[in-house]
C-alpha cells in the first residue's frame, strides 16, 4: 500500500542545484533509509516533504492525493511529522512545552483561553511512557541527555496520528546506548503502521532498522534497493560515486 510518492522533485537555491529529479515511494509501515554525503540534498528533501520549502519542480502525493504544502502546518495537518537534524528544541522550555510547541492545548479561563499545562504534562507523560523513555514532562530540555532530547523530538511527532515521520540524523550526536534507544523508537513507530524516512550517516543503524535504502549523490537519486539485497560496502561505493547507480526495487 503506497503511502508517500515523490515524482521528479527538484529544488534549486539560486544557482545551487540541491535536488534534481528525485522520484521515490514509501509504503505504509515501511522504514526507508536515505543516505548520502554532506550536502547531497537529504535535509533539503526532508524540508520539501515537510512543507518548509516548496519544490522548484515535481510533485508529492500522499496516499494518492497531490500535496501542495505552503507551511509546515499544512504538512502536519496531512499527517507528516518531522524530527529535524538539529532537533529543533527550545532548551529553555520544558519537555512537555517542546512536545506541544506550536500546538499548545488550551482551556477556558473566564473569558480568555489559556494554556492547559496540566493536560499537556499528562499527554506528554503518556507519550514518553509509550516510547518507553524516562523523559519527564516538566524537565527542562537544557538538562537532558541526547537520548532524552530525541525522545522529546519523537514524542512531538506522535501528537496527531502521523502517517509519515521524517527523521533527519536522529542518531548523529548521541551515545551508543542512546542510539539503540532511538532505533527501538523507530521500530515502535513502524509497528504502529507509520512510514519512516530515516536519514543517517551511520551504516549500522540504517542496516538494522531499514527495509529499503536509497542513496542521494549531489542532488540525484542514484540507488533505491531492498536492504537485504545490498551491503554496507556497496552503499559506501554509491555514496562516494565509486559505483555509478543501481535501481533494484521491483516497480
Amino acid at each position: 500500500m503506497e503511502r508517500l510518492r515523490l515524482e521528479g522533485v527538484g529544488k534549486h537555491f539560486g544557482a545551487i542545484r540541491a535536488l534534481d529529479d528525485v522520484s521515490l515511494t514509501l509504503a505504509g509501515g515501511e522504514v526507508l533509509g536515505l543516505m548520502g554525503d554532506n550536502g547531497a540534498g537529504k535535509s533539503t528533501l526532508v524540508k520539501i516533504i515537510a512543507g518548509n520549502f516548496r519544490p522548484s519542480h515535481g510533485s508529492i502525493y500522499l496516499e494518492g492525493e497531490t500535496c501542495d504544502f505552503h507551511r509546515p502546518r499544512d504538512a502536519q495537518r496531512s499527517g507528516i511529522e518531522v524530527v529535524y537534524q538539529d532537533l529543533a528544541l527550545c532548551d529553555n522550555m520544558s519537555a512537555a512545552s517542546n512536545v506541544f510547541l506550536g500546538r499548545e492545548l488550551k482551556k477556558s479561563f473566564g473569558p480568555v483561553r489559556i494554556i492547559d499545562y496540566r493536560s499537556m504534562h499528562r499527554k506528554a507523560g503518556e507519550l514518553f511512557a509509550q516510547l518507553k523513555s524516562e523523559t519527564r514532562p516538566r524537565d527542562l530540555v537544557r538538562r537532558m541527555s541526547g537520548g532524552q532530547r530525541q525522545a522529546v523530538a519523537i514524542a512531538r511527532t506522535l501528537l496527531a496520528e502521523p502517517r509519515v515521520v521524517l527523521m533527519d540524523e536522529p542518531t548523529a550526536a548521541i551515545s551508543v546506548r542512546q542510539v539503540a534507544e532511538v532505533l527501538e523508537l523507530i521500530r515502535r513507530l513502524r509497528d504502529r503502521g507509520i512510514s519512516v524516512l530515516l536519514i543517517s550517516h551511520r551504516m549500522p543503524d540504517v542496516f538494522s532498522v531499514c527495509d529499503r535504502i536509497a542513496v542521494l549523490r549531489r542532488g540525484e537519486l542514484v540507488a533505491d534497493m531492498l536492504t537485504e539485497t545490498t551491503s554496507p560496502e556497496e552503499v559506501t561505493g554509491l555514496i562516494t560515486g565509486a559505483i555509478d547507480s543501481i535501481q533494484r526495487v521491483p516497480a
Binding site: 509546515p72 529535524y84 529543533a88 528544541l89 527550545c90 494554556i115 507523560g125 511512557a129 519527564r136 514532562p137
Partner: protein
C-alpha cells in the same frame, strides 16, 4: 506502571521552596534593594519621608513599566535601544496635541499610536528584513528623537489646553497615597506575568528567544510575533512618556535621554538573559527598584550622582556573573 507515570508527570526538577528561592537571581536583587532601603532608613532621616518615598516609587515606576517591555524583547532574543526615544516622541505628541486644544484621551491615543508605530517599524525591519535588532533600534533611537525635535520645534511645552489638569493629575496624582504611575506598573506587571505564563504569545516569546530556528520549523509565526513584541516594548515606553509629562508638568526634548540604558540595566539585573530565552516580569520590576534605590541613596547620602553609573555598572556585571556561576553549577 501507572504509579510511575504519575510520578514522572508530577516530577519537578526544583527542590524545596527555599532552595528554589535562593536559586533565583530576582530573590538576591530584591534582598539587595531591601537592605539598601533598611540601611537608608537607619542612616538618613530623609529616606523614609513621605515625600521622598513618593518620588522614589514614581521614578521606579517609569523605569519598571518600560523594563517590562524590554524584558519581553530581551527574552525573545532581541534588544530595543529606541525606548528612550519612544518616550520623548510620545510625550511630544501628547504635548503638541493637547496644547493645540485636543482633549486628553484623543491626544493620548495619538501618542500611543506614535509609539506603536515606532515599534511596528522596528519589528517589520527586524523580522522581515532580518537586520539585527541592535542596529535597527539604534537607528530608530536617532530617528524618533529627531522626529520629536521636529514636532516640538525644540520648544518646551507646559500648557496643555482644556484637559491640562487631568493630564497632571494622571501623571502626578495618587490613589489612596499610591502614585498613579506605580498603579499602572503594578497592573501591567500582573497582566504580563499572566501573559508570559499562560498564553501562546507569552510562550512563543520564550520559544523564539530559546531557539528561533526551532520556533520557525514548528510552524510558529515568528515574524509576526516579533513585530508584536517590538510594538509592545514601544507601547510601554509610550505609556511611560504620557505619565512622565503629567508628572513633570512639561515636555522638554531631552526627556528619556539615555533611559534605554537604565531600562536594559534593570531588565538584566532582574535576570533577563541577553542571549534570549530568559526573563521575568518580577525581575524587571525588582531590577528597576534596585536601580532607583541606588540612585536615591547616592543623592540622600550626598555622594555625587556621577557615581551612579559605577554602581549600576557593577550590579549589571555582578548579576550576569551570578547567572553564569549558577548555570555552571547547574550543569553537573
Amino acid at each position: 506502571m501507572t504509579v510511575s507515570l504519575e510520578k514522572a508527570i508530577g516530577h519537578s526538577q526544583h527542590g524545596t521552596l527555599l532552595s528554589r528561592l535562593m536559586n533565583q537571581q530576582v530573590f538576591w536583587v530584591f534582598i539587595a534593594a531591601a537592605l539598601g532601603c533598611i540601611s537608608l532608613t537607619l542612616v538618613t532621616d530623609t529616606f523614609a519621608t513621605e515625600r521622598n518615598l513618593f518620588n522614589v516609587t514614581r521614578n521606579f515606576a517609569f523605569v519598571g513599566i518600560i523594563a517590562i517591555g524590554m524584558t519581553t524583547v530581551i527574552a525573545s532574543g532581541g534588544i530595543d535601544l529606541s525606548v528612550g526615544a519612544s518616550v520623548v516622541l510620545s510625550a511630544v505628541v501628547i504635548g503638541v496635541a493637547m496644547s493645540s486644544g485636543l482633549g486628553f484621551w484623543p491626544s493620548a491615543l495619538l501618542a500611543l499610536g506614535a509609539s506603536l508605530l515606532v515599534g511596528f517599524v522596528n519589528g517589520i525591519v527586524i523580522a522581515y528584513l532580518g537586520i539585527p535588532p541592535f542596529v535597527v533600534t539604534l537607528g530608530m533611537l536617532s530617528l524618533a528623537r529627531s522626529l520629536a525635535l521636529v514636532l516640538s520645534n525644540n520648544r518646551m511645552i507646559y500648557e496643555f489646553g482644556p484637559d491640562h489638569d487631568l493630564l497632571l493629575a494622571l501623571g502626578g496624582g495618587n490613589v489612596l497615597g499610591i502614585p498613579n504611575p506605580l498603579i499602572v506598573m503594578v497592573v501591567l506587571a500582573l497582566v504580563m506575568s499572566f501573559v508570559f505564563r499562560w498564553t501562546r504569545w507569552g510562550q512563543y516569546v520564550f520559544a523564539i528567544g530559546g531557539n528561533e530556528n526551532a520556533a520557525t520549523l514548528t510552524g510558529i509565526a515568528v515574524q509576526r510575533t516579533k513585530v508584536t513584541i517590538y510594538m509592545f516594548s514601544s507601547f510601554t515606553a509610550g505609556v511611560a512618556g504620557i505619565l512622565m509629562v503629567g508628572w513633570l508638568g512639561s515636555v522638554t526634548t531631552n526627556l528619556g535621554t539615555a533611559m534605554e540604558l537604565t531600562v536594559i540595566a534593570a531588565a538584566v539585573i532582574g535576570g533577563a538573559n541577553l542571549a534570549g530565552g530568559e526573563g521575568t516580569v518580577l525581575g524587571a520590576v525588582v531590577g528597576a527598584l534596585l536601580i532607583e534605590v541606588i540612585r536615591n541613596s547616592l543623592i540622600l547620602l550626598g555622594i555625587s550622582t556621577f557615581w551612579q553609573g559605577a554602581f549600576i555598572g557593577t550590579f549589571i556585571v555582578v548579576a550576569v556573573a551570578f547567572e553564569r556561576i549558577r548555570a555552571l553549577r547547574g550543569q553537573d
